[in-house]
Symmetry: C2
Subunit: 479 residues, 2 copies
């Protein structure tokens, strides 16, 4: 009976059958999002929003601990302001939503619904910055941005997404560069430690970097299907924007200078990364740090004397050290199991009449389905230990998947064969020419993911053109 119930709850496509459909099934069935009636716009439902809030809380604390302050910039940006930096506007113009009417009046100038806010921060700084004493200014904002994408998928690419955008200005280029690295490392730490997602840190090629940036650094995660997901980026702008927007300060030498600038962002895309890194055919699997419910307590034979009461008592105790939910609804236990598996709750606690007699309960891990009997007196150590073990295993499995799907190639024939054999990272040397990067895309369907900080020497030449190699690149198929 539990089995039938299970099917009833789930009915999602398997990963094997259709990974893309499996993904969108989870987004909907785990009640993370709903498709709104505005084309390409999603609704974050309570469970999806709760996951995002846990990521936010974690990130926000880290940002503040390193001296960043939150601000709020206008949601609308005048076209003339957007146009001051040529590369940025060229990069974003095709995907901007334009406000042209205010009430019943046609606006004199179109206003863009913000696609990103470098321009607004620069405009603000051009008025408020005076002296080197006020530097650095390290700002962040949590907001949504709008980009008019043609094809959309929940969390991965939608016309609106929620994110943080950090924007900082510094007295020296070195300080700005250090900030860029610090924030990239912050992102990598959150991914690896809290989301249990291993990432490759590296620099984007010029073709793949942010419009207007001097350098873009990235963390790249690999999904279960071998595709790459750019999961966070950190940009160094030099003084390009501060010159374009006339941001100046009086330096220690009493002369006017332009500050050096960075920006960096992660978004609700991270929720997509969690789904596709850890999920299975029964649904989502959440790393404990961002699980709105870390432990679900399910009473078995709840009508038997003492069971409901004990389940409630345990939930109350557990709430002191973990996010816990008592499922005392009148659904069958099997139905509850499936429901909470779909929602990726890391740990299930079952307690029935026999357990009561033995002063024990059953803990079941979401990832392994491993069941352990635990004395009720030891729960307070057993639960955190199980959560930590799950986190560690999620990370190790994701890392193993990445290692299994990372291959090195020194010739184009090898590249072609590997790309045909499976999806993953292909490492090659590269001469640095755009032509070879384009050829890799056109002939093999691979884009450069990054030039990893951890370089290897695979050969002396670019496999594409045979010219001397400058760097090693990770290539892949990206979301």
């Amino acid at each position: 009976m539990a089995k039938d119930n299970k099917k009833l709850v789930q009915a999602i496509t398997s990963q094997e059958e259709n990974f893309a459909q499996w993904y969108t099934d989870i987004c909907v069935k785990a009640e993370l999002v709903e498709y709104s009636s505005v084309k390409g716009f999603i609704i974050l439902r309570p469970y999806g929003q709760a996951i995002w809030e846990l990521i936010q809380k974690d990130m926000d604390a880290r940002f503040k601990a390193t001296g960043h302050e939150n601000v709020a910039m206008p949601v609308l940006i005048p076209e003339s302001l957007l146009q001051k930096e040529g590369e940025l506007v060229n990069g974003f113009a095709p995907e901007v939503a334009w406000v042209t009417m205010g009430g019943s009046d046609k606006l004199e100038e179109r206003l863009a619904v913000r696609p990103t806010s470098e321009t607004m921060f620069c405009d603000h700084w051009s008025r408020v910055l005076h002296s080197y004493r006020e530097l650095p200014m390290k700002y962040n904002q949590w907001c949504s941005v709008v980009r008019w994408e043609k094809t959309t998928r929940p969390f991965l690419r939608s016309r609106e997404f929620w994110w943080q955008e950090g924007h900082t200005i510094h007295e020296t280029a070195a300080e700005a560069e250090a900030e860029t690295q610090q924030q990239l490392n912050c992102y990598a730490d959150v991914c690896e430690q809290d989301l249990a997602i291993p990432v490759v840190k590296g620099r984007k090629t010029d073709k793949e970097k942010f419009a207007g940036a001097e350098a873009t650094y990235t963390i790249e995660a690999m999904m279960k299907d071998g595709k790459a997901l750019q999961s966070g980026t950190s940009h160094y702008f030099g003084d390009k924007f501060s010159k374009a927007y006339d941001v100046t300060f009086t330096g220690r030498d009493n002369q006017l200078h332009h500050p050096f600038q960075t920006s960096w962002g992660v978004s609700t895309r991270l929720v997509g990364a969690i789904i596709m890194t850890h999920g299975d055919d029964d649904g989502l699997i959440l790393p404990p740090a961002v699980a709105p419910i870390q432990v679900v307590v399910v009473p078995i034979a709840a009508h038997k004397p003492g069971v409901s009461e004990k389940a409630a008592e345990l939930a109350e105790k557990i709430s002191k050290y973990a996010r816990v939910k008592l499922d005392d609804s009148d659904n069958a236990p099997g139905w509850k199991f499936s429901q909470w598996e779909m929602k990726g709750v890391p740990l299930r606690l079952e307690i029935g009449p026999k357990d009561l007699e033995k002063n024990q309960c059953v803990l079941v891990r979401r990832d392994t389905r491993e069941k352990v009997f635990v004395s009720l007196d030891e729960l307070e150590t057993a639960i955190p230990a199980q959560l930590e073990a799950l986190r560690k295993d999620l990370y190790e499995r994701a890392l193993a998947n990445r290692e299994k799907r990372t291959w090195a190639a020194t010739t184009m024939d090898e590249v072609r064969e590997l790309a045909k054999a499976g999806t993953g990272y292909i490492k090659t040397m590269w001469c640095g020419d755009l032509a070879c990067e384009m050829k890799m895309k056109e002939e093999v369907g691979l884009s450069s993911r990054c030039m990893p900080f951890e370089q290897e020497h695979l050969s002396d030449v670019c496999p594409c053109c045979g010219k001397p190699a400058k760097t090693m690149v990770y290539w892949g198929v990206a979301y």
Copy 2:
């Protein structure tokens, strides 16, 4: 010398001279906001944003404690969706910003930048709600909204403001009504307990209620100048919107029903309320609960042996129980005093060489300037006690101002005289007719603030028309 420095920092208009200018001076000089280059749009600077975040944190915890869940709805709303409920669209159409272009394409249908989200929530519920078992759905979102206001003032009325909008649906009208009251009480508690702002709770007249609502409840605060500020509202919609948007559920009787709906919101306007309730000619005065810095530590003669070290040590200790800032900059103490007074820091701790000898320090309250010498061994009790005393006094002073400026009238002559003599609340009986409400506005310049829950019987008739009175109304001049 301290005096000169003081003037240098401040240079703000006095309340006496020009209250409106005093207000905007504080907004800018305390670095709460900056005027953006988008007309009518402000920037929340770090200090202003930090105050808003403390209000948010407080509110959000209260919402969650009563079973509300956060969600995120699209920022853009199709015109056709906005138009389904006639009163709402009529109320908001004149002040909507319209997106008409996506990239380089003209949109088939205009999209409104959300002015409020009742329509989106209803649209969502029309798809996801099925059974009474899923009710109530108690949602909230933190976001910004855009309303194309003609005249704007920071926090009080701007084209974009940040707020929370709660939206709930319930099985019965009684439950929805109870929710409306609960949330109004929640707002009143935050205002009175945390912001030290006394409020009058009541119901809006039909003229003043929210477009489309069956009933609007409000908390009204009185500013130092006697003007009223609507500080939070809670609306009961009955099943009007759920009928318009076809939101239905299968009830306990197995029949289709429309749920009963509420919405409620507070905004960054509360920051304006804090400024105008507590501030003085030296700047802002922040209630401790929402002060980003509760205690500023200022070393006196910091170059003398041991002073800097002791100041740092104290700040470190205080950080365990209060939000503290050590001002170890090389500005003169007088300059620091003025700066932190402008920013409304509730408590200043001074420590100099003589204090060191006596194992004491000086605590100075922002509101009274009262100085007390406190033994360093007693700081941990003295600081929280001083903060609480300040909070209580802020509240009492605001209450005294309101009581001083609240007058009863039974004839139109009395109303006219009182309105001429000063700004405040004028209480009168009212027949309930729109004509009398309009007359009060046109002839005396007063709008109805609310029909307070705490009613008094001042006379039997409406002073305006002489017909039998139905209720007592607070009239005033509103921001």
